[in-house]
């Protein structure tokens, strides 16, 4: 009993760190919790679920709207449709002689089973209008060769399939429009399940759509998901790279020399208040379509913040270190290269880590300007079709990418800058090996600077 009780003790201590295992546990919970909430809302039928999601295509007389499988409708309207379709079928069976119907209408009616075939992978989703295959499906289901399970047909609908097939079978074994009957076939009764609004797909749907989208081989001329991902990464990394190339040196100069600080910072301060997206049309006009304006937008969004942040970090360097260096005989140039730069590197690294996070925001906007591209174009397009189950995987992918990158960079901080605390000897050796060429160069420049 005692160890169990200690398990619940000491979770809430003011300004005290928890043990590392508890911290790890809570970090895991912080991800599990929202996921669990999502699952709860998605899978427990009596929580929320304000819509009915159709499993079969449905239409009714006197209403021009055709609902396809996957559509969301309100429970009240669903009931109305069920009742109306049953009534239609009853009228059809009762009337003599049977009313006339176009073969085209019967063809359309047969396609009502297409979603069932697709969800069972009996038919690829691009083949929803493959009438020959669908015709055989009616046969297979009616004869019991194929038993649909997901979604399973209601006994009522199974009966309708059998009745219709009884009418079709004598006419033709394979589909042909000409051989279809001229009397109307029975309509399948609408079938659906309680569902959440379309903007909140269930986890498994998101997972399935994401998996499918990433595995899918794209049609000729379109980009695969991996290519889109690479494209987005390329834009953000290039934009960020150029921002670093320009922003870091200027930031350091501003932090070190009052001259540059007063020369650059007022304008930079002004410019950064103009939102980068406002330049998008200008950038497209100047740099034309393609990646250039996108990279430029990430650059503009990042570089001005970077100059200010880096100059602030540089100013935070302990000035007594510079005085110490002076009393040790360092020249101004040496103070810059041997004291300022190595002194600010750990903080600079963290600044850049945070700015890289911001750059992702600009990426999303950048990909919408000019010719839409990358992951954002996919999000945009699918969002318009309300395919949110395909949108979420991409949003999550961006989140995971940012999070994982940041975690890795934060872990590397301790290795690259062993003097800041956590460092281990293996990592230090690794880094020494990594920086070996730079050390050789600096040795050479030392020698070059030494009068012999």
């Amino acid at each position: 009993m005692r160890p169990l009780a200690s398990l619940f003790k000491g979770w809430f201590l003011i300004r005290r760190d928890l043990s590392s295992s508890r911290r790890l546990f809570l970090s895991a919970v912080s991800f599990v919790l929202p996921l669990a909430l999502w699952c709860l809302v998605s899978y427990v039928d009596w929580i929320w679920h304000p819509d009915i999601k159709l499993q079969l295509s449905s239409e009714r007389e006197g209403n021009s709207t055709v609902f396809t499988a996957g559509d969301h409708i309100s429970p009240g309207y669903y009931q109305e449709m069920v009742v109306a379709t049953r009534a239609e079928n009853t009228r059809l069976l009762a009337s003599t002689p049977p009313p006339k119907s176009s073969k085209r209408a019967n063809q359309k009616l047969l396609r009502q089973l297409a979603p069932v075939a697709i969800s069972h992978d009996w038919l690829p989703y691009t083949e929803a209008q493959n009438d020959a295959a669908i015709y055989h499906l009616w046969r297979d289901i009616a004869t019991g060769t194929k038993i649909p399970t997901d979604p399973a047909l209601t006994p009522e609908n199974l009966d309708i399939v059998k009745k219709n097939w009884a009418q079709l079978a004598p006419l033709t074994a394979d589909f042909s429009l000409a051989s279809l009957p001229e009397t109307p076939l029975l309509k399948l009764i609408p079938q659906g399940l309680p569902a959440n609004p379309v903007y909140l797909p269930a986890p498994h749907e998101v997972w399935r759509s994401g998996w499918r989208d990433f595995k899918a081989v794209p049609p000729e001329g379109e980009l695969s998901m991996t290519q889109r991902y690479q494209h987005s990464l390329r834009v953000i990394l290039l934009g960020f790279f150029w921002a670093c190339v320009v922003g870091v040196p200027i930031g350091i100069l501003c932090g070190v020399f009052d001259f540059f600080s007063k020369l650059f910072e007022p304008f930079v301060d002004f410019f950064r208040y103009m939102p980068a997206p406002t330049f998008s049309t200008l950038l497209v006009a100047v740099l034309l379509a393609g990646d250039a304006p996108k990279i430029a937008l990430v650059f503009i969004g990042t570089v001005f913040q970077m100059i200010l942040v880096v100059s602030k970090t540089t100013r935070l360097l302990d000035p007594s270190l510079l005085e110490a260096a002076q009393t040790l005989g360092a020249s101004p140039k040496q103070m810059l290269t041997r004291v300022v730069i190595p002194g600010i590197l750990p903080n600079l690294y963290n600044d850049l880590r945070i700015l890289l996070g911001w750059a992702w925001t600009w990426l999303v906007i950048a990909e919408l300007i000019g010719v839409k591209s990358g992951l954002t174009e996919f999000i945009e397009t699918q969002g318009r079709f309300r395919n949110f189950d395909r949108v979420f995987p991409v949003i999550i992918l961006i989140g995971v990418t940012g999070f994982v990158t940041d975690q890795i960079l934060s872990w590397l901080h301790g290795i690259i800058f062993p003097w800041t605390g956590r460092g281990n000897p293996i990592a230090q050796t690794f880094i020494r090996f990594l920086f070996w060429p730079f050390r050789q160069i600096s040795k050479l420049s030392d020698r070059a600077g030494t009068p012999t």
């Binding site: 007594s320 110490a324 260096a325 002076q326 009393t327 750990p346 605390g421």
Partner: protein
């Protein structure tokens, strides 16, 4: 109270000590400060930190500067090191006027100011490398200075991993590696605990004995000043000016037992009186509210 303690005058010097001071005065002047004045412009007007300070230090002498807070001790150190320009007057090192910081004058700060990204060895190598030494010679030189301060085992440690005393030893080694002609130390042991400070004082004297160096040591600790120095420069506050230059009559070599010798106590008491004049803040009764009845054992 003063009558109870029968102390000799701080001016009494044994013949050996007097002879030693005579010989010291014959040495060349390492540092000469004449008419040094330093003022700062602030929003509240001009503040005079140092006013007409003059003194000289002889080669290999150990001089301490002491004074109450606000007497401009640290400003003096910074001006001597060349980190601040004097408003008027001048500073000469072996006859050469000082016009800015330079490797001929070493400086040890209270806040250690070690480069955190460099190991002990790299810190000590810094000066020689700046002077254009090759990496190999700087390294072997650094090793020698690290050995002198007894940190050979820690040469690859980062400053962050060292204790305060060790950090200050690295700072001393780093300053000495440049082989400066004068070493300025601005309250270097002020941040250390009493025990470490005591060890560091003895250690510093050992270094001073074995290295060709003249030391100007800023402190506010009376015992430290008397224990370490040949002469003590006492400064007055607001504005900082020379009150007295005292020759310490305590014979060398110094050791901790001397802290209770009459000559030590005499000079210590004299400086204490200079810095905290009797009858001023010292004897003022602080108004403390009495919350318990008077207890004869707790007085």
């Amino acid at each position: 109270m003063a009558a109870a303690l029968q102390l000799p005058s701080y001016l009494d010097q044994s013949p050996e000590v007097a002879a030693r001071f005579e010989r010291l005065r014959q040495r060349p002047v390492a540092l000469e400060v004449s008419g040094l004045t330093k003022t700062f412009e602030t929003t509240r007007g001009t503040v005079t930190a140092l006013s007409d300070v003059s003194f000289s230090v002889h080669k290999r002498e150990f001089m301490c500067v002491i004074g109450p807070s606000g007497c401009g001790k640290s400003t003096l150190a910074r001006v001597l090191a060349g980190l601040e320009a004097p408003t008027s007057g001048d500073v000469r090192v072996y006859g050469q006027p000082v016009s800015g910081p330079g490797p001929d004058r070493g400086m040890v700060f209270q806040s250690y100011t070690l480069f955190p990204w460099q190991t002990v060895k790299q810190n000590v190598m810094f000066g020689p490398l700046m002077a254009g030494a090759s990496r190999n010679s700087a390294e072997s030189e650094a090793r020698q200075w690290i050995e002198l301060v007894g940190l050979t085992k820690f040469e690859n440690a980062y400053p962050q991993q060292l204790s305060g005393g060790m950090k200050q030893r690295v700072a001393i080694a780093r300053a000495l590696a440049n082989q400066p002609r004068v070493l300025f130390m601005d309250e270097p042991f002020g941040a250390l605990d009493a025990q470490t400070r005591c060890q560091m004082q003895s250690h510093l004297l050992d270094i001073w004995k074995n290295v060709d160096i003249t030391i100007v040591f800023i402190t506010h600790d009376l015992d430290e000043a008397v224990f370490l120095s040949d002469r003590i420069l006492v400064l007055d506050p607001h504005p900082g000016r020379v009150r007295e230059m005292i020759e310490v009559p305590v014979p060398r070599p110094r050791h901790n037992d001397q802290l209770f010798e009459p000559s030590f106590m005499a000079v210590r008491k004299h400086i204490d009186n200079l810095i905290h004049p009797p009858g001023q803040e010292h004897h003022k009764e602080s108004p403390v509210l009495r919350l318990v009845a008077r207890d004869p054992d707790i007085v």
